[in-house]
């Protein structure tokens, strides 16, 4: 059990150290989706070394979205976002 915990901690530490970007930011915006509009007051963005994206939007509702990122240049990441529910990319 102890070994498993140590392994989990090591993996977590490794994930942190390889993270490309992670932050929580206050601001304003909207998330339009087929269920209606969500006003955003805080966004959490995690872009990891494996080109995975996690986007959490908080405001009138809390929404978690996942996706991928393809390249970064001067702090700008090209991203593709899927919904958490069906894991499909809306077109």
């Amino acid at each position: 059990m102890k070994k498993l915990l140590v392994l989990a901690a090591a993996l977590a530490a490794s994930a942190l150290s390889f993270g490309q970007h992670a932050s929580t930011t206050d601001g304003s915006g909207t998330y339009q989706n087929p269920d209606g509009n969500v006003s955003i007051r805080r966004a959490t963005v995690i872009l990891n070394e494996n080109r995975q994206l996690q986007l959490t939007l908080e405001g009138s509702r809390r929404v978690s979205l996942f996706g991928t990122w393809s390249r970064s240049e001067n702090g700008r990441y090209e991203v593709s976002v899927k919904t958490a529910q069906n894991n499909s990319t809306p077109r």
């Binding site: 994930a15 942190l16 993270g19 970007h21 992670a22 932050s23 929580t24 930011t25 206050d26 601001g27 304003s28 915006g29 909207t30 998330y31 339009q32 989706n33 087929p34 955003i40 805080r42 966004a43 959490t44 963005v45 995690i46 872009l47 994206l53 986007l55 959490t56 939007l57 908080e58 979205l65 990122w69 702090g75 700008r76 990441y77 090209e78 991203v79 593709s80 976002v81 990319t89 809306p90 077109r91």
Partner: protein, 280 residues
Amino acid sequence: MTGQIDVGNGTYVRRINVASAEGNFRWNISFVGTRESTGNPTNPTNPTNPTNPNLPGAPIDVLRFTDAPRGNGDWQYLGSRASLNRVTVDAQRDGRISFEFPGISRFKIVARYSRLRGDTLPVEIYEGFGARDVRGTGVVSLTRDHTKVLRLTLNGTADGQRFNISFIQGRLAINQNVQGSGTAEVGRNNRQRVYAAQVILDQQGLFTIRGTDGSNLHVNGTWTEDRAGVITLSVTDIRGRRVSYGRGTLNLDTRTDQVRSFSLSGTTDGESFFFDFTVR
């Protein structure tokens, strides 16, 4: 849906623009970040996020104090320069430290502090002036118990514009040119309206108050602060007169130390004098 996330220099999200393909407007994310989150961090993984106290790089010396020392200092930004009489410094356990300059700027400067070097606290500035891109460094010298500020310097850029701030804790000292209305009178039938005045209180306990528009009455003496914002004045000299004495009161804004009003009266060369003024 596809788009861009702009994280600027990496500390927080500047902008998110993501939308579904052309012709389908059902999906869209539009967000403009204004600042690093001040709430509980949703995500604990950002090593550069000062809202997170449990990360590598978080301050080893956890501080918690608020201090609003008086003293003397200099504030320079965007080509303007102002003298500082007071700063408010607030250090949080999560590693953030903020600086306010009452009466000078409505914006806080926010920084992250690192490990103490003796009684000296290095800080890294990341927010201030209402600017989007703020970078700078500073040093705060503290008392031995690490709860009071003795001096500080903050330097950096805000959206490319240089700022330099320095401050040394000390006794109240002010030098203000104020506008408003008042009355100056020496002897009888010599009343003059006053529309502007200069008020100087120095750290040695001497004051000068003089009219700069409407009357040039120039009064000197000594001052003491009896209670917060209330200065008692003792007149010892009026320029151009041989023997003068009298008393007065100067009222300051207790938060900003800005002059609000003053009133002086006494005797000079056997005549009475009176000088009052209220800042507009």
